[in-house]
């Protein structure tokens, strides 16, 4: 029996060339819906560079595939991508659950620290695990010279979206998170300055269904995009309790203040919030909720001449 082959949509030119983003996994998610019982192969060979959003999306996709197929194979390209996935703990989590063409033992021997990694791919299931995750990343940030204000922004972003993922998710595999710092701007071109990317994916019921539990939001939950836009507002929560539903709004403000963005994906909706504007579009269905936050670090200002 031949294996079902799942393709990616990796850009071949432009600023996003070769990058494994969440969007690049769309054809594979579409193909995964039809998988039932057989074996399946995911071909990552066009990938040159993996960002946290792509990594968390890949983890969610593999969980989805492992739950519905007999055997999952992953074709991983040349040494750099394999070495990066190894450093991000990808093989620790998936090495024994999928078949790959990579000799993990050889990679482990040559393992080196990655100065930009703030949080390797981590799988968690409950709110109780979050303070430990935050303590660890805060210590790494402090050791790398991040200011208190920057640390607070990164940690508060991560803690709020982690809490959302495990609180509303009812996800069979919990949630995956990863955080990476770059020496350049990754999102939308490679400008001056640095950027920290935070990504989280869960396999839960999604934002629209969570908000639908609150009957007062009936008019905001007709489409996934409406539900996502509504979820960004202060105080919007599925439970209707006062004081709840502030986390995502605060994360949006943190990202906007840093000059970055907050992207949400759930169901067939995708919304990106920039502070002064919000973009929405329809995308292939994502089985869960996905959050990506871009926090640029400003380049040091050049002295006035």
């Amino acid at each position: 029996m031949t294996a079902t082959k799942l393709e990616l949509d990796i850009r071949r030119r432009g600023a996003m060339r070769g990058i494994l983003t969440l969007g690049s996994l769309d054809p594979a998610f579409e193909g995964a819906e039809g998988v039932s019982g057989g074996s399946v192969v995911l071909d990552l060979r066009p990938v040159e560079f993996v960002e946290p959003a792509g990594l968390c999306g890949l983890a969610a996709l593999l969980e989805f595939l492992i739950s519905r197929s007999r055997l999952v194979g992953v074709r991983i390209p040349g040494h750099n991508v394999a070495a990066y996935l190894e450093r991000m703990d990808f093989f620790r989590i998936f090495g024994h659950r999928v078949e790959t063409n990579v000799d993990v033992a050889a990679l482990e021997e040559r393992r080196r620290g990655n100065p930009g990694t703030l949080q390797e791919l981590i799988n968690f299931h409950s709110e109780d695990e979050i303070p430990g995750i935050i303590n660890r990343i805060s210590e790494i940030l402090e050791n790398r010279g991040y200011l208190l204000r920057e640390r607070a922004a990164i940690c508060a972003t991560l803690s709020e979206i982690c809490a959302n993922a495990v609180e509303h998710g009812h996800s069979p595999f919990g949630a995956y998170a990863a955080v990476q710092a770059y020496q350049h701007i990754v999102s939308g071109g490679r400008g001056k300055g640095e950027e920290v990317l935070v990504a989280i994916a869960d396999g839960g019921v999604g934002v629209r269904e969570t908000l639908s539990r609150n009957p007062q939001y009936a008019e905001f939950t007709e489409t996934d995009n409406e539900a996502l836009r509504h979820a960004l507002k202060m105080g919007v929560t599925g439970t209707g309790e006062i004081g709840r539903g502030g986390g995502l709004a605060v994360v949006g403000q943190i990202a906007a203040r840093a000059g970055g963005s907050l992207s949400l994906r759930s169901g067939s909706g995708r919304v990106t919030f920039y502070g002064d504007r919000t973009n929405s579009r329809n995308v292939p269905r994502f089985p869960g909720t996905f959050v990506r936050v871009s926090l640029p670090r400003k380049a040091p200002e050049e002295p006035a001449s």
Binding site: E127, D128, I130, P131, I134, N135, S138, L148, R149, R151, A152, C155, A156, S159, E160, A163, M234, G235, I242, G243, R244, G246, G247, V250
Partner: protein
């Protein structure tokens, strides 16, 4: 005032449930329970100072669960005539406390340190700000004197002050020995 009323200070950073990085509702709940225990142990009229100066980070979920919920319960009278105030400098950490209290249409008194001049975090309706300021400037003032000072009739004055008492921002005492019968007087909580 702080030096006249019984009070206790709870240092969140060194408290048993606390620390420097305060995140999640679960952590907030544990800190709130510790705060509530101290508050309940205070004599009537007492003030609990929640000192967050050693905390480096509070996310919204923690701030709402630890501070927002506690202030809401104090305002609803759950702890009788006992109040809470925040000891914190004017810094970014306050933003999530502010956001939680605004979301709940509540406010609390903030001081840089115990005994310092008070400020407000959260949502106080515009028309009550003037009343609040006048009471804190006076230290202690009767309803009649406050009404005269602000140019309001006694009933309107009483209504405004009652709102502030309910928000947990001032104390009210009944003075039965006042000329002309019973009269309320007000004072700040910190």
């Amino acid at each position: 005032m702080a030096d006249q009323r019984p009070y206790a200070v709870y240092d969140v950073a060194s408290g048993e449930a606390g620390g420097k990085l305060m995140v999640t509702r679960g952590t907030g709940r544990r800190v709130r329970e510790a705060l509530a225990e101290v508050l309940e142990g205070l004599p009537v009229g007492g003030v609990l100072y929640v000192d967050t100066r050693g905390v480096e980070l509070m996310d919204y979920s923690f701030a709402d669960e630890a501070v927002g919920v506690l202030v809401s319960r104090v305002a609803s009278g759950e702890y009788g005539d006992r109040r809470v105030a925040l000891v914190e400098e004017d810094r970014e950490l306050l933003e999530n406390v502010e956001a939680s209290l605004r979301q709940r249409s509540l406010a609390m008194v903030r001081v840089d340190e115990v005994g310092a001049s008070p400020g407000i975090v959260g949502d106080v309706p515009e028309h009550l700000v003037e009343t609040l300021r006048a009471i804190y400037e006076a230290g202690s003032i009767t309803n009649a004197d406050l009404a005269a000072k602000l140019g309001l009739n006694h009933t309107a004055m009483n209504n405004r002050a009652t709102r502030l008492v309910k928000l947990g921002l001032i104390h009210r005492t009944k003075n039965t020995a006042a000329p002309g019968g019973r009269q309320y007087s007000y004072e700040g909580i910190a």
